[in-house]
């Protein structure tokens, strides 16, 4: 937001109570994790491992971007995981079965996600079904559809080798040969920047925050809340679609059985990043940091040979701690 407006009013006091605090907290947490794991294992802070972390964050990060919008409205989206899968399958269908060009296939994937989001949005805003139920239903429908359409078998992209490059190729590596950062990471950061701009600079972002803050007041102000909410859910779905495309490209296949459970990681990332489940506030930067905290944690614990079961326990505890820290901060205000 621009600061160059109006005279006579001190704005120093706005700095400390801004939402920056939670982001700083989350960011500090990320740094601490980095330091701890670096000290604990020499294998952590290596270029390859960092790239591994970045790559592992890509899909969850993309899903979490969409979920951020939804949670800011005060809603929830349980469907992002299986919608991602459905999008991956539709991409596979378009490219492998229908033989469409790759860019069209990618658009089909993203469009599938947006369509699923649209269904979520219409169910919530027109039929007034609570978001939890609406997206739970779409989650199950997407899962079923992915299995039906694919015949419950993976779709491999072996005939379209260029497709894999979308995630695993490296534009950066072409320019700076030593740094083969996979494109999936670029996609994540690109999407994050766009998501941030949408949230902070556009009408849609403003109404997103307004609806989450006080839906009734927003409606009484003459804003077409139903329409914007529908659009926001569709936008969230589109991010799941991008996630699906990247997932498929990474695995070089669309795996119809994958995807359930991804929504919870995405929600965890959003919440760790300081977005309030009661709506009205949240940031994209926070979400990205939250997504990285989760993958750094998973990666670091694995390197330290902590069994997977315990990784889950620890990640769960971190989610609770992060939200608790946020609650404490609010109370002090």
């Amino acid at each position: 937001m621009s600061l160059e407006t109006t005279s006579s009013i001190p704005f120093s006091r706005t700095i400390f109570r801004s939402d920056a605090t939670q982001k700083i907290l989350a960011f500090a947490g990320l740094i601490v994790l980095f330091v701890v794991f670096s000290l604990a294992s020499p294998n952590f802070l290596t270029f390859n491992n960092i790239v591994g972390i970045l790559l592992a964050t890509a899909v969850n990060g993309l899903l979490a971007l969409g979920v951020t919008y939804i949670i800011i409205t005060g809603g929830i989206d349980l469907s992002v995981g299986t919608v991602m899968t459905l999008s991956a399958v539709m991409t596979g269908v378009a490219i492998v079965m229908w033989g469409l060009p790759i860019p069209i296939g990618v658009l089909v994937g993203i469009g599938t996600g947006a369509l699923a989001g649209l269904v979520n949005g219409l169910t919530i805003s027109k039929m007034k079904v609570p978001p939890f139920i609406a997206t739970l239903g779409v989650m199950m429908m997407a899962k079923g559809l992915a299995l039906v359409i694919s015949g419950a078998r993976p779709i491999y992209f072996n005939d379209a080798p260029a497709f894999r490059e979308i995630a695993m190729g490296s534009l950066v590596g072409m320019i700076v040969p030593d740094y083969k950062i996979p494109n999936a990471v670029l996609v994540l950061f690109g999407a994050a920047i766009i998501a941030h701009l949408i949230l902070t600079k556009t009408v849609m972002g403003r109404y997103n925050l307004a609806i989450g803050s006080n839906e009734e007041a927003t409606r009484l102000s003459g804003v077409n809340v139903d329409r914007w909410k529908t659009a926001i859910y569709a936008l969230g779905g589109a991010f799941s679609g991008i996630g699906g495309v990247i997932m498929a490209a990474r695995l070089n296949s669309a795996q119809p059985a994958l995807g359930a459970g991804y929504e919870l990681d995405a929600i965890a990332a959003v919440v760790i990043g300081g977005t309030s489940l009661s709506g009205g506030e949240g940031t994209i930067l926070g979400t990205i940091i939250g997504a990285f905290i989760i993958s750094v944690l998973t990666n670091g614990l694995r390197i330290l040979s902590v069994p997977q079961e315990w990784q889950m326990v620890i990640t769960g505890a971190i989610v609770i701690l992060a939200v608790y820290a946020d609650i404490i901060r609010r109370r002090q205000k």
Partner: protein, 534 residues
Amino acid sequence: MTDATAKPLVTMTGIDKSFPGVHALDNCRFDLRAGEVHALVGENGAGKSTLMKVLAGIYRKDAGVITIDGHEVEIANPRAAQDLGISMIHQELNLMNHLTVAQNIFIGREPRRRFSTFLLDDATLNRNAAQLLEMMHLKIDPRTKVADLTVAKQQMVEIAKALSYNARVLIMDEPTAALTEAEIAELFAIIRRLRSQGVGIVYISHRLEELKQISDRITVMRDGRYIDTVPTPDATIEQIIRMMVGRTIYESAPELPTEESREIVLEVRNLNRAGVLKDISFTLKRGEILGFAGLMGAGRTEVARAIFGADPIDSGEILVHGQPVRIKTPRDAVRHGIGYLSEDRKRYGLALKMDVETNVVLAALQKFVNAVGWVDRRRTTATANHHVATLAIKTPSLQQQVKNLSGGTQQKVVVGKWLTANTDILIFDEPTRGIDVGAKSEIYKLLNDLARQGKAIIMISSELPEILRMSHRIIVMCEGRITGELSSTEASQEAIMTLATQRGGIVADNGDTGGSPGGQSDSPRLVSMESQSA
């Protein structure tokens, strides 16, 4: 001010509106001329807000005709109302707390960047908001988050928002309920300016004294029906009240049970809370009504919340019936027989989505549990029915959700709740805010009855006539300290105001970016006094 032959800007005729179980508007009418302030009065639940919400496109009327400039119009939604130049300030605050002041004011009409329909131009947004606030003499940074403002400032932001529509019809539903006297004066200046520019203003208020100052005509409603419209200069307050309630009720100051030397039930010693309260000490006796006077933000609510365990204290002692007690949560307070009726009943006093019966028994639910461990519905219903009858709570049934009741009715439900809990120390925080005269005198009567029954009552109020009329003793606060105590005989409006403005306390100007201590920002509440003595 108004030319009696002026052409009406708005007419509403034969308006009907029903909610499930409530016939809220029955063949109502109303008209508004350009350049007049038309007051709309009536008891709680008379249908004032509903009638105006029909005009503002929030409710669809079941029947009736609305014309604007003589043309019949259908107002289907708030947007349509805005397009017709109708804008409404709601009784309940309707702001997006997480957004800034500027973002709130221009919600739905954000300036866009050049050549764009989608990109916001926040620099222009903030500049426009700053201009508007400047025009209203409001010292608020447009980039402040609304959540960080005091309720009074939030109310002013609502008003700024309504003004920003450049409406031809401006509806104000109890705009002054949370304002300080200086802010009310500012608001009246704005209203007069708008009136001279030809805006038609509908002004809903329970402060009948205000109407004399600001309105040109007064329309009275009762039980969802239109009663009459009179030019303000021809009307007396008594006459208006009679029309409102359909009977004469203006009782004079009720006699107070004045037995001194009673048992001290509550003693507070040196209560401190950094930056909020300093050395608060006082006693409260059985059968006594202890008034807490002071300006907005003097710390009276904070005292109440501290005693009630809603806010932590840094140091100090609380004694109930002579025994030191530790009150760390409201639950502790209720156990020691202390009940608190919040000034913000919607946020702290009621479970809005639950029904009347549940709310009434909520604070004492254990009492209604039978041997099996279930809540005994027959007894809760009986108790709720009893309170609905004795407090005259106006609800179609015990099963009505509290959020659908009018403001004053909600307040009575809260009273019923604490009566059920059988607390013997009751703290009333602005008990009559937003309440009509009829209900007001019922609440006064209730306070007296409770005191007579031996309950000890603290009454926080910003209305001096109310404090003077109701209290045995008056404690005056300013900036987090007690600046004096007055007996009912020595108390006068002047004495209270002197104490209430003894600055130099610990509390900084609360959320008021520009206000200077000792400056003009919080001048005493004088309006209602003047008009009373007039």
